[in-house]
Symmetry: C2
């Protein structure tokens, strides 16, 4: 069994007090963390010894909400107000195939690795392809097959959708890194009877995470009011889906009573600061949700909405938005942001017993970050540096499940040229289609 000892690190184990352990070390055996400490490091026989030279070593970042294949749509129609109906929906119907999903996921996976993300929860179509691509990339993933009643690209009927979910669960049963998940799209696109069926399916398949978009936008509020006389959280509740472990993305429009009910139901939230703000939708009440005991992770959403898949570009917004809401410098301090991006994100996915902190027995998902650039100096509080000055390009090494998937900025699992070439070919098709749509008026 391969052993690795990383020493002379600024270790951030992510414990209760968010301690910073200078001259720290972590000892990895096989796929797991064997020990962590400070001072002289152990030198087990045959272990790879790595001097981190004072670099930060911390748990890999956890992205609890993404649509990786949509990386191929990044920046498409950015400033076009009706881009969803003009470009996105018609193009998804026409171009979303298993191959497009594979290629888009690999591009997104490459970016995620370079940005220090080690676990991603995805929800899209042909999700088994997402699982296979994440597996190839060496990442950890929660792959959610979307169920929706708007005739999405991969299932004509809800029955077909559930068949895809069953197939996905079977395909990744027992996989060490890829966990199948079921993803009812949203209250407005997966109506109450379908959500109720998802709840029954989840009862019959314990341990399978359920992902949903919830309380994200005005039109959703309006739809729920019109069709059910309720707000989105109540619609999900009515369907029996406000249940332990539900991963609810967005949650912008939740009031104190709803937050209380979500907390009692043990629902978890994936906050997508950039995506919500770029759409002009608003700021989720993250401080209030966390104060009520709801775990909140930091998601990127799809790169069409949030543009990047690294968490560093989310950190500033996550912190700033809560300070704006609170009209004070105090809310959402830097260490809380890092907590959300690691251990709390893992808890959102129900994986905090396996990942999210550097604790003996947990899986060895960790990253090394070089903060020696003039841009990140001096350092008075390493958490502040990580939140407001560090960038994906500062991530140097990435390990998942005890395996190095990036060393010295070189991704080990995917071939950069091939990933870019395949993505470029599909993007060229999309550009031609945009030109056709624009030409047709």
């Amino acid at each position: 069994m391969m052993a690795v000892v990383i020493h002379n690190a600024c270790l951030l184990p992510i414990d209760d007090v968010m301690s910073v352990r200078e001259d720290g070390w972590v000892h990895v055996e096989g796929d797991a963390i064997a020990a962590v400490g400070t001072g002289p490091a152990p030198c087990p026989d045959g272990a790879e010894m790595i001097d981190a030279g004072g670099d930060v070593v911390m748990p890999g970042l956890v992205n609890p909400h993404a649509h990786l294949p949509m990386t191929l749509f990044r920046g498409l129609g950015e400033d076009v107000d009706d881009r969803l109906f003009r470009y996105v929906l018609p193009m998804e119907r026409k171009f979303v195939t298993p191959e497009m999903v594979r290629v888009g996921t690999l591009l997104g996976a490459y970016e995620s690795i370079e940005g220090g993300v080690t676990t991603i929860a995805d929800m899209y179509y042909f999700e088994a392809e997402v699982g296979r691509a994440l597996d190839e990339a060496g990442l950890r993933g929660v792959v959610g097959q979307t169920i929706a009643d708007f005739d999405p690209p991969d299932h004509k009927t809800v029955d077909d959708g559930f068949r895809l979910v069953d197939d996905l669960a079977a395909a990744f049963a027992g996989h060490p890194r890829i966990l199948a998940s079921i993803a009812p799209h949203a209250p407005y696109s997966t109506d109450v009877p379908v959500m109720a069926r998802v709840a029954r399916w989840a009862d019959a398949n314990p341990g399978v995470p359920v992902q949903i978009h919830l309380a994200e936008m005005d039109s959703e509020m309006e739809w729920c009011r019109k069709h059910h006389g309720l707000r989105p959280v109540a619609v999900v509740e009515k369907a029996g889906l406000l249940r332990p472990g539900l991963i609810a993305a967005h949650c912008l429009y939740v009031d104190d009573g709803e937050i209380e009910r979500m907390a009692r139901a043990d629902v978890r939230v994936a906050h997508n600061a950039r995506s919500n703000a770029k759409a002009g939708r608003g700021i989720a009440p993250v401080e209030a949700m966390r104060a009520a005991g709801i775990p909140v992770g930091i998601g990127t959403d799809g790169p069409m909405s949030g543009n990047t898949l690294d968490l560093f570009s989310q950190f500033g917004p996550v912190s700033m938005f809560q300070k704006l809401l609170g009209h004070s410098r105090k809310p959402m301090p830097a260490r809380e942001v890092i907590r959300m991006a690691t251990l709390e994100g893992a808890r959102v996915l129900g994986l905090d017993h396996r990942i999210g902190s550097l604790v003996p027995g947990k899986k060895a998902d960790l990253i090394r970050i070089d903060l020696s650039a003039p841009r990140t100096q001096p350092i008075y509080d390493v958490y502040a540096t990580l939140i407001f000055a560090a960038m994906p390009s500062d991530v140097r090494d990435v390990m998942v499940d005890g395996r190095w998937i990036m060393r010295e900025r070189q991704v080990q699992t995917l071939e950069r040229k091939r990933v870019l070439r395949d993505a470029g070919q599909i993007a060229a098709t999309f550009k031609a289609e945009m030109a056709r749509i624009d030409g047709a008026g």
Copy 2:
């Protein structure tokens, strides 16, 4: 005279329609742009020919508001609510010396160059040191000597302050890149008689920019109300300082009438999105100010407030904040953000006749940006990519006044090791002082 031709570029000249010129070239002679075009490039005798390989070539970024020496305070007391009075003011009084200003400016200059910023407007103390350091770095600068009546580190009396301004103006008279400026601190710290004296000084010294902090915070509103029964803009107006070319930083609390008066007075604004949000202060009405005809540039503020000196980390917030204010995806489209960061920023500084766009006759301040990373692909709209996906580390080459100050990510003018070592020594002093303050309770 040295000639450089950069060809095969994705050229963003920053013209009226924000055109994107594929297969573009720019021809530099000496310190100026001789010609720009597309297709086959000229090959003047002895010119350095550079194949940009499809990289973006655009004007250097303009940062209209910074406090470069404060780079040494970056992240200090980040989450401490009373950090201003607990740490910053006592430490500024104790530690701000010409040497500290020199070292902090060099660190900030290094970061600025690496982030593609070619022009910086600074306001701080011992400002002649800032000018000399920016000159050494090869950057373009507007260096503003602060005048304040709170006994700041470099002048005991206002008379002394004006002497520093006179000395500064004399020291950089005729300098090709460094322009002296006078910087009354803010309405609450540079009272009406002093601001009136600044206005008279500015009358006697045409062409010297005036910089001020304006309408930035609650306590300022309260101070102006209490002492003058007015809002900050009116206080500045009363002092005769609401004048053509005034560079007003922040301007969060300005109503429609004030915006109208500022526009009529030909005042310009430096918007500091991250700094304002991190302090929980709010969002400046940038769309409204620009709609009224006020030029608005994108500033970083000091790295104690905004943490970085690159504009890329400001771009997302600048755009998102206006979308949040407008509750729509439409406000502040990507190309407008890039316009603000270049030509409009130059106009804020009164330098738009010399820099800010790639036009024959203007000074050759330009940058080359490599957008080939998986993180920035695919590209449907290069402005969207620059705003929401590009990072400082994507900047490859930087030219100021016809001189390369960064080539292939290597800063040519400053020695990285020395800059970091000197900064580290001063930061160690600051850390010891923080420990002393914390120990003293």
